[in-house]
């Protein structure tokens, strides 16, 4: 093996990543060649000096930061149960209220309709009665009023005829009738 061949293989030799024959060949060459030995020493020392770059201890806040950014499992599990339950409950309430409202509306509508029908019935009945009664009432009131007026003896009369009480009553009656 010549120097160029050996120096090409030095990184692999450093890893012992050569087959037995090549390992032995490089070994033999390094024993006799100062230049290649120096090359190999340079490679080894460079790789070793890299150990100076030590690990850095992560800052304390990083652990807290990571743990703080984790989703809260307990809360999530609780919500996973509670949210569907709450949603289901609200749906049931909603449906119940809807049907209750519908039924109430229907009942209310029916009641209203019945009341209207009832009132129509009453109205129909009452109209005739009222008309009839009104006439009676008017007549009765008229005669009551008349009676009352007849009893009043101090109605102001424009022309009070002469001739005493009888004449005054007659004249009042005449005026009312007029």
């Amino acid at each position: 093996m010549d120097c160029m061949e050996v120096q090409e293989k030095l990184p692999l030799y450093h890893d012992r990543d050569l087959d037995e024959a090549l390992l032995k060949g490089v070994d033999e060459h390094l024993k006799t060649c100062d230049q290649c030995r120096k090359e190999y020493a340079g490679l080894t020392s460079a790789w070793d000096v890299m150990d100076v770059w030590e690990d850095t201890v992560p800052p304390d806040r990083l652990r807290k930061r990571i743990l703080g950014s984790m989703p809260r499992k307990g809360r999530a599990a609780w919500l996973r149960v509670a949210l569907p339950m709450a949603a289901g409950f609200l749906m049931v309430i909603g449906v119940a209220l809807y049907y209750a409202g519908f039924e109430a509306g229907k009942t209310g509508e029916m009641t209203e309709r019945a009341a209207v029908q009832q009132s129509d019935k009453h109205a129909n009945i009452n109209e005739d009665e009222i008309v009839a009664n009104l006439e009676i009432l008017e007549e009765e009131e008229f005669y009551d009023a008349l009676d009352e007026m007849v009893k009043i003896d101090y109605l102001p009369l424009m022309d009070e005829p002469e001739g005493g009480e009888q004449g005054r009553e007659r004249s009042s009656l005449d005026m009312v009738l007029a």
Partner: protein, 185 residues
């Protein structure tokens, strides 16, 4: 007895918040450091760590242990990191070809510098950050997370040979970049 990650995921699925806290305690640091090394931005690393664990928590309901838990976890981190890079690129309107090798200045064969640990660390960070994205992710997972190439291939969604090639090329680049670098002990 310590619960496995897969057992903890099963407990998280049942709503066990303590199991999540345990999983977070176990993996927060590697997740944060993977994002930090890859993006070199502490704020973005924090955001990615948070996003990763939120995804883990949410995925617990559907999680099936097809692969190692860390493979699955780091795949989430890797995807989030690349999303950040994409948004950075679109914000900067800069196109970066992942396969184009950066020009790396050689430090000279015999230049041995004795620097402070902080200076060496800074040089290493710069050298790693100059690697192309896929190569950088493979190197970080291999070097700092001790993952096997097979697992890295699963995380990166490519073949084992592609990962080997990336890591080997990275080693050659870093050897030139960090040659002779020493720090005071």
């Amino acid at each position: 007895m310590e619960e496995t990650d897969i057992a903890l995921m099963a407990l998280i699925k049942q709503g066990d918040s303590k199991a999540f806290e345990l999983l977070l305690a176990r993996h927060q640091r590697p997740v944060y450091n993977l994002a930090l090394r890859f993006l070199n931005d502490p704020d973005e690393a924090e955001d990615i760590t948070q996003d990763t664990f939120i995804r883990v928590y949410r995925a617990a309901q559907t999680y099936t242990p097809d692969a190692k838990f860390t493979t699955w976890l780091y795949t989430i981190v890797r995807n989030l990191c690349f999303n950040v890079l994409r948004s950075r690129k679109s914000a900067e309107m800069v196109s970066v070809d992942d396969e184009v090798m950066p020009e790396l200045p050689s430090r000279g064969e015999d230049a041995v510098e004795l620097l402070s640990k902080a200076q060496v660390t800074e040089t290493v960070i710069r050298a790693v950050n100059r690697l192309p994205e896929n190569m950088r992710m493979a190197v970080i997972l291999s070097k700092y997370h001790g993952l096997q190439y097979e697992e890295i291939a699963d995380i990166m969604g490519c073949t084992v040979n592609a990962i080997k090639l990336r890591v080997h090329r990275a080693k050659a680049i870093l050897a030139k970049e960090l040659h002779g670098l020493r720090h005071e002990t």
